[in-house]
Symmetry: C2
Subunit: 344 residues, 2 copies
DNA sequence: AACCCTTGTGTTACCGCTAACATATCGTGG
DNA sequence: CCACGATATGTTAGCGGTAACACAAGGGTT
């Protein structure tokens, strides 16, 4: 009958064990472990020693349920292999590290249904905030975000209406600005190379902005090429060869990302195509990773880390409230000419 | 007094709300939502409709506490910007997607203290399993892993003693094999280029294996160069220039990762250094990302995705148990000669 | 008709922790 | 010397679910 005295080795430790080992109440142990309330130094030391000796790790599940507070921020992004998103994550972590909040990542693989599922899953842990890439979501997802009762920040994009707050750049504008710079530099026969991803709305918007600005100059995209899967560097080569073979008089190639642009650049250099004289090149993202290429590729920075930081700041500032105050932060990427786009 | 009839709009939804809206007990709602137990079709439909109408999202915190089950797997890795780890993550997700388990990522930035903190934090959510990179941890971390009472899989490395299970490759062997291949190909004046990261134990082991195998052949590393931070591609160029300037008679450069190797390759090509005749090059990782380079870099695959998959399989197979059965899976990376290392 | 099983649903008692309040202890000024 | 505030600690009642068991109703069997 001395059940409570039996040392069942494999039973998980609870506050009660620490409480018994240190001779104070569970409440006091809880206070010590959270650094709350007035506890005498003697007691604090006693408790900390007991906890350490037992190897006690608090149970946040129970804690969260009791306190109705969960220090997690759901971060929902399309992919981790895109290079871009790890950078956003870095920005987010940088800021959240200064707070009690912790990011938890969910990956959607660019699938709206998958996004819905991931969001549902994350919300079921009742996070203190949500950071989610893009402005396009299923109706159900938008409903969940609205009903979540926590700050929601939609990031990366600002062409559209956010549920709550928004931090991003205008991809339409990126496309437009790039088109203008290309035309201003004197190029006229322009090709576009991108991904075959109808669900990558930001790539789509860049393309729309691009064609729209070209149209204003009385031009249109002379040829285009799309790819799916595989190594982006290789695909960039292959697509460049294909498009230049099909339409040899192209004098500019606009790539929807830096990786395929780099592949194209390598192809041109190897095949004696003079860049940027004979053919100009530009990409998108401003990947520092690629700084070491033979020529620096013209590109536009996507402000990834800054977007992450700002989104995290918003969530942190509004944690505990039921929205992020519908703030709208629009960042402005700058064009980097590099060495593959003539200046004027 | 009619408190329970007041529709307080901003109160979070609970099972009780769904229960009241559908006219059955909370327990039955719970059963429907989890798909457990026998529930009549009529009731099931009624409940699902009510839940959907209200926009109810179950509270996993409460669920986990009550059921003593948490379908999360803690995944602890040093970095997300390393390219390698997103690939491991992909392998893990691939397998866990087939199970009720969900990965949760923690990033340590190669800091043992940071790792300890992240581990503590993750264990406090009582995950069903832990996948953690490396075999080197602080004593406290190892104690926590041992005491966690869940399957623990240490990944990426297998030169050392795991706490429980282990899935990885031998980095010592990678270094040795590469050294042997280089010597066999006839190179004798060998330089090493790597990261200045005392805490990257796997890089260290590769280096140790490398020098050890060279020593057996009566050789030693003729010169070395280390870097920290910055764009790996750029650093690869700079270091290559530096080492070749300082020690012009080097005939082989072994890089601790493919990214700096690629930078070195670009440098050599641009400066008319004949590869692999005049100078041979090799890296480590087998990054498909770099397939599109002018010459394919000699490298050794780190089996990243496969490690992720196998680790996830182990955790899934042993979920609910208190260990992963101390299994040891050693994968064998294969040397890819590419076009920068002479054969024989 | 009494019995038992099956199927569907409800009841009760927690899970491990914390908010809020209650209580004990002590020094201190009036 | 006692009321009183400050400080330190304990008690109680949940948080929102779920396990385990209880129970009601219906349909065969014997």
């Amino acid at each position: 009958m001395a059940k409570e005295e039996i040392a069942n080795e494999n039973r998980p430790l609870t506050l009660r064990d620490v409480s018994m080992a240190s001779g104070v109440s569970e409440m006091t142990v809880s206070r010590v472990l959270r650094g709350r309330g007035d506890v005498s130094d003697a007691t604090r030391t006693k408790v900390l020693e007991a906890a350490k000796m037992l190897g006690y790790v608090p149970n946040k599940i129970a804690g969260a349920l009791a306190s109705q507070r969960v220090n997690l921020v759901a971060v929902i992004i399309p992919s981790l292999s895109n290079l871009v998103f790890p950078e956003v994550m870095t920005g987010i972590s940088e800021v959240l590290d200064e707070t009690p909040l912790q990011p938890v990542v969910g990956v959607t693989n660019y699938g709206p249904e998958r996004e819905e599922a991931v969001l549902y899953e994350m919300l079921s842990w009742r996070p203190s905030g949500v950071i989610i890439a893009g402005l396009e979501h299923t109706d159900a997802s938008r409903a969940m975000l609205r009903a979540a009762g926590v700050p929601v920040v939609e990031i990366m994009d600002c062409d559209g209406e956010p549920v709550d707050a928004m931090v991003g750049i205008s991809h339409r504008r990126v496309g437009r600005e790039m088109a203008k710079a290309i035309v201003r530099a004197g190029y006229r026969r322009i090709g576009f190379l991108g991904t075959k991803m109808p669900l990558d709305h930001r790539a789509r918007k860049r393309f729309e902005g691009f064609t729209e600005a070209l149209a204003k100059e009385g031009l249109e995209v002379a040829d285009q090429e799309f790819y799916q899967g595989g190594s982006a560097l290789v695909k960039g080569r292959e697509m460049t060869e294909a498009i230049l073979t099909r339409t040899p008089d192209l004098d500019f190639l606009y790539y929807s990302n830096d990786m395929i642009g780099a592949g194209g650049l390598l192809y041109c250099l190897e095949n004696g195509i003079e860049v940027p004289g004979q053919v100009g090149l530009a990409g998108f993202n401003g990947l520092r990773l690629l700084d070491g290429l033979p020529k620096k590729l013209a590109t536009m920075d996507a402000c990834r880390a800054e977007i992450g930081r700002e989104a995290a700041r918003l969530v942190a500032a509004h944690a505990g409230e039921d929205s992020a105050g519908a703030e709208r932060h629009v960042l402005t990427p700058t064009l980097e000419f590099g060495a593959t786009l003539k200046r004027r």
